[in-house]
Symmetry: C2
DNA sequence: CTTAGTACTTGGCCATACATAGTACCTTTT
DNA sequence: AAAAGGTACTATGTATGGCCAAGTACTAAG
């Protein structure tokens, strides 16, 4: 019951949302995503990202194409599918609802009234 | 990859935060918590709540005492410990950070600029 | 050819939420 | 008093997703 573990648990399902959102904004490959997530202070490692991308693809939410790189092996550039956009909207609603629900709980004080 | 499953995943770790917060506000027993969580639209079932309470107790974050009930078997009334208050503050910081990070990701549009 | 760097893959581990079934105690009914 | 029903808590097994760690494959530089 340490805080590191809780951080891991809390991000479950949210990574999926964030990554699908990043892909929805334009073609990116894994390192682009890692960079953006890191800059938002969401620490993600390859072993998390790649399996997630595979899941998204198998579910038909994203697609990819190989693109040659001038320095190194070719890269998988991901794009979102129509089905993916629909799912992203559902994820968005789910996230908003979760934030709203949590806010409702933690905004109550000892007397059960809302306060600041 | 259905939305119901994602809802389950998204709440992982957050239940712990919500429940510890509820307990921090005063003595409650399981049914009180279920009622409050349900009213905040966080659907939780006994099979989730009781093991979580046991985990919290084993970690020394909460304590409980048996209280006789006028109708039915005695109840475990939970209270937060000092150690629990410390952990709650950490959870709070973790949650705030996660919300902030997610907000940063999803507030970006196609051009990579912030917009509404 | 060897070394280093980049990109992607895979297998196993762990913690949490949940479904389900079960135990124990109390009150009410007959 | 025995049976029936409700309340509170417990225990077991499953599925999922994040993560570690090791591994593969391709390219460029020495």
């Amino acid at each position: 019951m340490n805080i590191e573990n809780t951080q891991v648990q809390m991000r479950k399902g949210i990574l999926e949302y964030c990554i699908l959102h990043i892909i929805s904004r334009g073609e990116v490959y894994a390192s682009d995503m890692l960079e953006e997530l890191t800059s938002a202070k969401i620490m993600v490692v390859e072993g998390t990202l790649y399996p997630l991308l595979t899941r998204l693809r198998k579910a038909g939410l994203v697609d990819y194409k190989w693109v040659e790189s001038s320095s190194g092996p070719p890269r998988k550039y991901y794009t979102i599918t129509e089905s993916g956009r629909g799912f992203l909207m559902e994820l968005s609603a789910t996230w908003d609802e979760l934030v709203s629900s949590t806010q409702q709980i933690i905004s109550l004080n000892q007397n059960g009234n809302t306060s600041s």
